[in-house]
Amino acid sequence: MLSQTVVNRLKEIVGEKNVVTDKVGLLTYGYDGTLLSGEALGVVSPHTTEEVVEIVKLMNEHNIKLVPRGAGTNESGGTIPTQDSVVISFTKMTKIHEIDTENFVAVVEPGVINFDLQVELEKQNCYFPPDPSSYKASTIGGNVGECSGGPKCFKYGVTRDYILGLEVVLPNGKVIQTGGRNFQSEPAYDLTRIIVGAEGTLGLVTKVFVRIIPLPRAKKTMLAIYDKVEDASQTVADIVAAGIIPTTLELMDNLLINTTEDFSHAGLPRDAGAVLIIEVDGYPEDMDPQVKTISEICNKIAKEFKIAQSAAEVDQIWTSRRCAFGSVARVRPSYGVNDITVPRSNFPKAIQGVLKVAKEYGVTIGVVAHAGDGNLHPLVLFDQRNKEEVETVHAAEKALCMMALDLDGTVSGEHGIGLVKKKYLDSEFTPAAMGAFRKIKRSFDPSNRFNPGKVFEL
């Protein structure tokens, strides 16, 4: 429990309403996108960098740890309060300081919802390419924390590629600025890059300089339907070999086709093995030749191929994909999301691997994948109330991670490590690499004050 002195001081810093210490209030901050939970000593929601600094100093005086939190949508337990900590929630820092389209930069506070930023940018014909499927809820600070990806990564990259600079409150309560409004303002070491994806373990992000770019002038959306997942993988390989870089190559397997059909009635054939959504963007003149090449490739092996002719048809194609995660809830009440990633050439083997794991463990697994990136989301379906089943699911998820590592991949392509995948880190990294992580953590946070126990043990 927090002492009354600390609570009072916190209330002085951020105002009465922005400190939560009651049981019910704390409960909501004890969860994230995983099955894990914890209980914080308190939750505090600052409005400014100065308030963040004051909070950090106060916590240091009392030797209390801090767990940073955005919208809490992460899928890895990164915001679960552990080790007697206070949650610092950034949901009150929601100012968009500046949008400067002519200089291709926007400056925002960490609590800004990705979607809210996109809406403002679109009014000025620009956008921020990282768009995790959770973009309607997740915050820019959280996107930075996880280095989130989205459906457009194949062409446009991930959050890392669009962060120009950060204002950061260090564990000692001091403020630094990394980078700036352009690519060339890092102070010798690329400090921005090490904080992006560090899951709040190195510093608290209080301001973000994001790179924005003009919306593409033209876009074409296509849908290919296959008998077998392997055929879809072949299309992906062929498109890459043809020298085309689509923005999107999203795949759903038979199980997901059926669950999404139950939900959205988009008209996908229920007996299909896989569907692939393909999107290209760029100058209008460059669209037709690319679409032509892609049609030729798809028509060779796809059972059906269509090119969206209107915005409505584009929407229809995307409807299934958008409801993919939610749709499986009709089959079983719970699902575990994984984000294993393998080199693109091993994608077919990874799909085989998923089937094998499903069979071996007797669990139902559906697959949504960013196929161009080799990034799979095997959704393991189960019932959370059934303890035994939960154990089996954990075992199956471990098997999925090990399978990805065997295929020269990684246990996390976009969701991060947090608490959930921490146990696999020694299998992915050599002791020397783990040593490098610890050296970095020690440089920033020698007393292990920020998000302790996440990603790896110091």
């Binding site: 200089n103 890392r160 303002s185 010798a188 392509g413 020397a432 440089s443």
Partner: protein, 434 residues
Amino acid sequence: MSNVNISKLKAIVGDNNVIDSPSEMAKYLKGQGKPAVVVLPGNTSEVSNIVKLANEQNVKIAVGGAGVGTKGLSGGIAMVMSRMNRILEMDHLNLVAYVEPGLLHKEFLLKVGEAGLNFPPEPYEVETSSIGGCFSIGDSDSKSFEYGPTRTFLLGFEMVLPTGEILEIGNKCIKNVSGLDFIHFAVGSQGTFGIFTKLLVKLLPAQEAKRAVIGTFTSIHKANATFNTLIKRNIQPTRMNLLNASLAQNAIPGTEGQLVIIDLQGFKESGKNIANEIAAVLTLGGGTDVKIIEDEVEYDQVVNGWLKVRADLNGKPERTVEFLVGPAKMPQALTQLEALTGDLGTYPGVVVEGLLGYVCLALPEGTDKLALAAKVNRLAMSLGGNVKGLLGHKLKSEAYNDAEMWQQTVGLLQELRQQFDPKGILSPGVSLEA
């Protein structure tokens, strides 16, 4: 003097690969420092053993691809990576390559081109830069608006740490957020975290179409104004660069006036229209000799001319000041700059990278670089920008009168370096003080 044990070094890499006669060493060395020996390792374990030996004997090591900078290296070991110059794998399915660090950047570009692929980062120095050096320096170049800075193209590496330990990290996945991002953090660390011994590099499909539009202007301001027009018209080419009259002749011999080079890579079908639109904007903006270049040989001449100018500037960092203000603020920046520099058209050197809002000034003989940089930084800050890199951070902290921020930043950099290299063995020439 030096503690370097030459016979132990010879035992590691073989007699032929240890050079300690000053006359033979010279061709591998840059600068005034006097290392005791040049050593050319042939593989990772040799690199590791050399570093371990240096630790035992407490001597410093600096690394280079073909040649080594000798600053702070007196009595130490100059490690030349040129024997480790193989492409170990070129993987078309995953669009990646495993490369050894001593391969020259220009050779790698040739091989990548032959394979029908594209590696966007440009060599720092055309003739001598290595792939290890490319990622060691990191940075961006004038194509980065389209392709992203150098770090975008690194997916993993093998590195010998300052203790001699070998670290491997990364894989062929283009998406990977596992652990901390040491992969990209190492880019730009200038050999202070370790010596790259293998790089896993990301590639792209080759650009099928390449075009350039060039034109000359009597006024640098008019030339730059065309960039703003293009951005307002929502045209983002691969790069748009401006070289002032003094540099223009070095890029394309015989050029008179301020030279604009606009590069269009990709844009297979649209390129013709875009090039025409750009040419019209340049002409309307006062450009003469505006020309669309589609011929491959001529295109390469233009790009190589630019690379040569860039390398000349990179080779003398003590004689340049670099700053950024963003493209939209560039007209004001150039106008205000003339109060400090006089006529920019005839200044020893001015480069504007239009899409990045970047300027590099080559200073006249006898200029006090730091004094000018401080003034330039104040100017840039008033337009939302700053001087580049670590120096920029120092000047910004000074301008804000925020000594604490500077101390924190430098303190953090030094702590990181110290954690990796507690004995201070590697890259003695690199300063984190600005």
